[in-house]
């Protein structure tokens, strides 16, 4: 099967080349990724990461630095770096590549991904980024000191002093949330900072990402069985909780919680809700005076009706063109086609292609954390 696919996709590749014509970006490569049996969750995320240019550049730099240091131990980071470098150095402009070593390594590292079952692309992204962080932190334990020098106004703000080591994964993806809890008895506000590499948002039917982000930061009352232990009152109290974004990341990854656990069904259900996402977004943060502006550059799309089966594809923006990656296949799409991935306004709809993970890149070029 795989061989046949490679052949036909070779043709599709040249079609993409033809479509781009003279506009084919200098030095850019558009390669589909071979599927090793339900590895579309992996392929779709890898494409999104490959076209996350700051991430790709860092990874390629890592690859070239590491190559000179001789034989390093193989891990997920080296496999990913090797894969990206392999794509980047292809002679042809388009084609198909088999991410064999990377997938093998992934299956070695985590039994969840070992089988041939359908996997969750967000879980994979999360696992991958955290693995890369672990590997980088092990390799470079002194990264922490570097960060302290650059952190803006670290001394004045609670809780930021212990900011974790700033690997380039952190520099790209990490933002800070403030979890504010106000005890309704003594009015004391407890603020706790948490870092995040992506935001998981609850979704509602016929809403927008803006609205989901608003709900994410809305005030929630903790009461009844969910009371808050107030240190000042030394007891469980009713409280109001709010999550605010304190520092926005350079790459904002938004995960839509489309797979919801239904207690009465005792299983997960896919929410096909129509959630519109703009090509531009702004986040207001508590730390900076202005708002951070973002531009959408990638969407991982889940195709299918249920959580345990289906397919993943990705939409990627590269040099102002939008591309559609479906495993081995890569083609150009019009920007206006993105709206077909918003979801369904009605529960039963023939359209099952739904935006699942959104990647936004900060427009304010030099990010403060760099």
């Amino acid at each position: 099967m795989v061989d046949g696919v490679t052949l036909t996709m070779g043709v599709a590749g040249s079609k993409l080349e033809k479509a781009l014509g003279d506009h084919f970006p200098e030095g850019e490569r558009y390669f589909g990724l071979e599927n090793f049996g339900n590895t579309c969750y992996c392929n779709s995320v890898l494409q999104a990461l490959y076209f996350c240019v700051p991430f790709r550049e860092q990874l390629l730099e890592y690859y070239s630095n590491n190559k000179s240091q001789g034989e390093a131990e193989e891990n997920l980071l080296t496999c990913l770096a090797e894969l990206f470098s392999q794509i980047n150095s292809q002679k042809k402009k388009t084609g198909v590549i088999a991410p064999k070593r990377f997938v093998q390594r992934l299956r070695k590292e985590n039994d969840v991904f070992r089988g041939y079952m359908h996997q969750d692309a967000h879980e994979f992204l999360n696992f991958l980024l955290n693995q890369l962080v672990d590997i980088l932190e092990k390799e470079c334990p002194k990264a922490t000191t570097e960060n302290v020098l650059n952190g803006p106004g670290n001394g004045h703000v609670n809780g930021v002093k212990q900011e974790p080591a700033a690997t380039w994964i952190h520099k790209n993806f990490q933002g800070i949330l403030t979890n504010e809890t106000r005890c309704l008895r003594c009015e004391t506000v407890t603020a706790r900072d948490e870092t995040f590499l992506d935001l998981s948002l609850d979704i509602e039917q016929n809403s927008s990402i803006t609205s989901c982000l608003k709900n994410f930061s809305s005030t929630e009352t903790l009461n009844a069985e969910d009371k808050f232990f107030c240190d000042k009152c030394c007891s469980l109290q009713e409280a109001q909780k709010r999550m605010k974004i304190k520092k926005s990341p350079r790459i904002l990854v938004i995960h839509l919680k489309r797979f919801k656990y239904m207690e009465q069904l005792n299983r997960h259900k896919k929410l096909s809700y129509r959630v519109v996402f703009p090509l531009e977004l702004k986040l207001s943060t508590t730390l900076d005076a202005g708002d951070s502006a973002y531009s959408l550059f990638s969407v991982v799309v889940h195709v299918g009706t249920g959580p345990n089966h289906g397919h993943y594809v990705s939409l990627v923006k590269s040099h102002n063109h939008w591309l559609f990656f479906d495993d081995e296949n890569a083609e150009m799409i019009d920007e206006s086609a993105i709206q077909t991935f918003f979801g369904s306004a009605q529960e039963y709809s023939s359209n099952t292609d739904h935006g699942y993970i959104l990647f936004y890149e900060s427009l304010s070029g030099d990010n403060k954390s760099l």
Partner: protein, 547 residues
């Protein structure tokens, strides 16, 4: 008063549907309350059931209100016919929209899928019953005066009678080449061609609405065809508008950032000799040589022009687009006056206040923006939608309850609809806008009321586009009412003297009667009195519009 005979059961069945029995969707109420009273769902209009599902999602329904006046006498009467035009025309409804294009348009169209004409079941003439009072279609003597709704669904244009209880349209027109996506109507058109239709393929038609209603077929008749097969511009039409007092001229905006001006009595066969656009980001106007149609091309912005609207006097045109900018031009002098950017994302719709002082825009930042022409900048942001804002309109019929007409405190009522399925109504009281004081860096915003009036900052210079303001710099409005009107995302709204109309993307229209407009008042009561109109089948042909 009821119509006689066969139409009885039809009326009762649609009356039932108007009161919400025909699957209004879970949790949808048939009324909403405002300080001045209850708005009640009066009628629903839709396209024939089971139609064109393959085309759904590809074309967003827009609705245009068309007030057909009594036909001018053009020849001695030949026969007298007793036509029950099922509409009580209130002539005041002639000026329905604040400034014209109230409901502008979401313009996403993924391409133009099924163009196959749907045979058979699509025209619902039969469902109107045999009553001669309703048998409007296909009678060449038909005068057709009344108020109609023109809306597009899939590959068709439908026409419904606004003031009848009938849910189904009285006319359908199918397009074999592409889907119709936008339309406009001019009640004062002198030469009979009063309806404009723009297609997904870029094609543009002008026709006589009356002539369409007189024809039995399912095709456009007597049309003038412009930009044939997209020969001048093959990108999707996004919006179309008559130029007020423009003597039959009109403009069409396209998804590639261009807008074309057409004049009547010019050759429509096209002279596509507009120069290549050198800089996509720059505004430029080119005029056609040899005075052919289109007579001018305005390159407005990079990416789609999503909506256009003329001020009521025709002096100014507002455009909104994919780049997130509102632009206001002096139409005659082809000059940019002012404009500015959304908070973020594309702008999707725009509308003028009747007096030309304010412009509403809505878009992908979920905000309704109020722009002042006097200050040439944003004066307020309306927060309340949970998704993109797809339609905005001023309610030009609304009078503040205690307005004496001389007070300084001008109050505007406007409405907005969004992809969150909600319609919101807003009051804009310039004296009471909450004006955030410019805050010191790092401080928290403090608020003051009044005193500064609308001038929370100085006006902006002429001819410049303003960048996005910061969230804390713009006064915020909260909606008066938020009402979930459909189960599908909404695409537009219109105000008439008696009602508010909402339409969803899938082509369902609801008509909400204003408080005080007695909902029992049967507008059909007039129908048998609009009798004995001596009229002649003065065919609107002869205008040369042979297809």
């Amino acid at each position: 008063m009821m119509n006689s005979g066969a139409s009885n059961n039809i009326m009762s069945s649609s009356a039932a549907s108007a009161s919400g029995n025909s699957a209004p969707g879970p949790g949808l109420k048939t009324y909403f309350k405002t300080p001045e009273g209850k708005y009640k769902l009066q009628y629903e209009k839709t396209h024939p059931a089971g139609l064109l599902h393959y085309a759904h999602g590809k074309t967003v329904t827009q609705v245009t209100l068309a007030h057909l006046k009594e036909k001018p006498m053009q020849a001695p009467s030949q026969s007298s016919s007793t036509l029950g035009v099922s509409s009580g025309v209130r002539s005041a409804a002639a000026r329905f929209l604040g400034g014209g294009n109230g409901s502008r348009a979401l313009s996403f169209v993924g391409g133009n899928g099924g163009n196959k004409p749907v045979g058979g079941s699509s025209t619902r003439i039969g469902s109107l019953g045999a009553s001669s009072s309703n048998n409007v279609v296909g009678n060449p003597n038909f005068d057709g005066k009344g108020t109609y709704l023109v809306f597009n669904v899939g590959d068709a244009i439908f026409v419904s009678d606004l003031n009848s209880q009938d849910k189904d349209p009285i006319k359908s027109i199918h397009f074999s080449n592409s889907n119709p996506v936008c339309h406009a109507y001019d009640p004062d058109a002198k030469d009979g061609h009063d309806l404009l239709i723009g297609l997904n393929s870029g094609d543009v038609y002008s026709v006589s609405l009356r002539q369409q209603l007189q024809d039995v077929g399912k095709k456009l008749v007597g049309a003038q065809h412009y930009n044939k097969d997209g020969s001048i511009n093959n990108s999707r039409c996004t919006c179309i508008a008559w130029i007020p007092n423009g003597d039959g001229s009109f403009v069409v905006s396209h998804a590639d950032g261009n807008m074309y001006a057409y004049e009547k009595n010019k050759d429509g066969s096209g002279d596509p000799s507009f120069p290549v656009i050198k800089d996509q980001t720059q505004f430029s106007v080119s005029h056609a040589r040899y005075s052919k149609n289109p007579v001018a091309r305005w390159h407005i912005c990079q990416g789609s022009v999503n909506g256009i609207a003329f001020s009521a006097d025709g002096a100014h045109i507002a455009t909104v687009g994919r780049d997130g900018y509102l632009r206001v031009f002096d139409y005659k002098n082809e000059q940019l006056i002012c404009g500015g950017k959304s908070y973020y994302g594309a702008l999707l719709c725009c509308a003028w206040s009747m007096d030309g002082k304010y412009i509403l825009t809505g878009g992908e930042d979920d905000l309704v923006q109020v722009w002042s022409m006097e200050d040439r900048k944003i004066v307020a942001w309306g927060e309340g939608h949970n998704s993109w804002v797809s339609g905005v309109a001023f309610d030009s019929y609304w009078l503040a309850p205690n307005s004496d007409g001389v007070g300084e405190n001008v109050v505007y009522r406007f409405g907005s609809v969004g992809q969150d399925t909600q319609m919101l109504l807003w009051d804009l009281e310039m004296d009471e806008l909450v004006v955030p004081v410019r805050r010191a860096p790092g401080g928290s915003p403090t608020f003051s009321t009044g005193s500064q009036s609308s001038h929370w900052d100085s006006a902006c210079p002429v001819g410049t586009l303003q960048p996005s303001p910061s969230m804390q710099d713009v006064p915020k409005l909260s909606p008066l009412v938020a009402h979930r009107v459909h189960t599908e995302p909404l695409s537009g709204l219109l105000f008439t003297q008696e009602s508010v109309l909402t339409v969803c993307r899938e082509g369902h229209i609801k008509i909400w009667m204003r408080p005080g407009s007695a909902e029992t008042q049967s507008t059909n009561s007039d129908s048998f009195m609009s009798t004995s109109l001596k009229e002649k089948a003065a065919m609107a042909a002869g205008k040369g519009g042979k297809q």
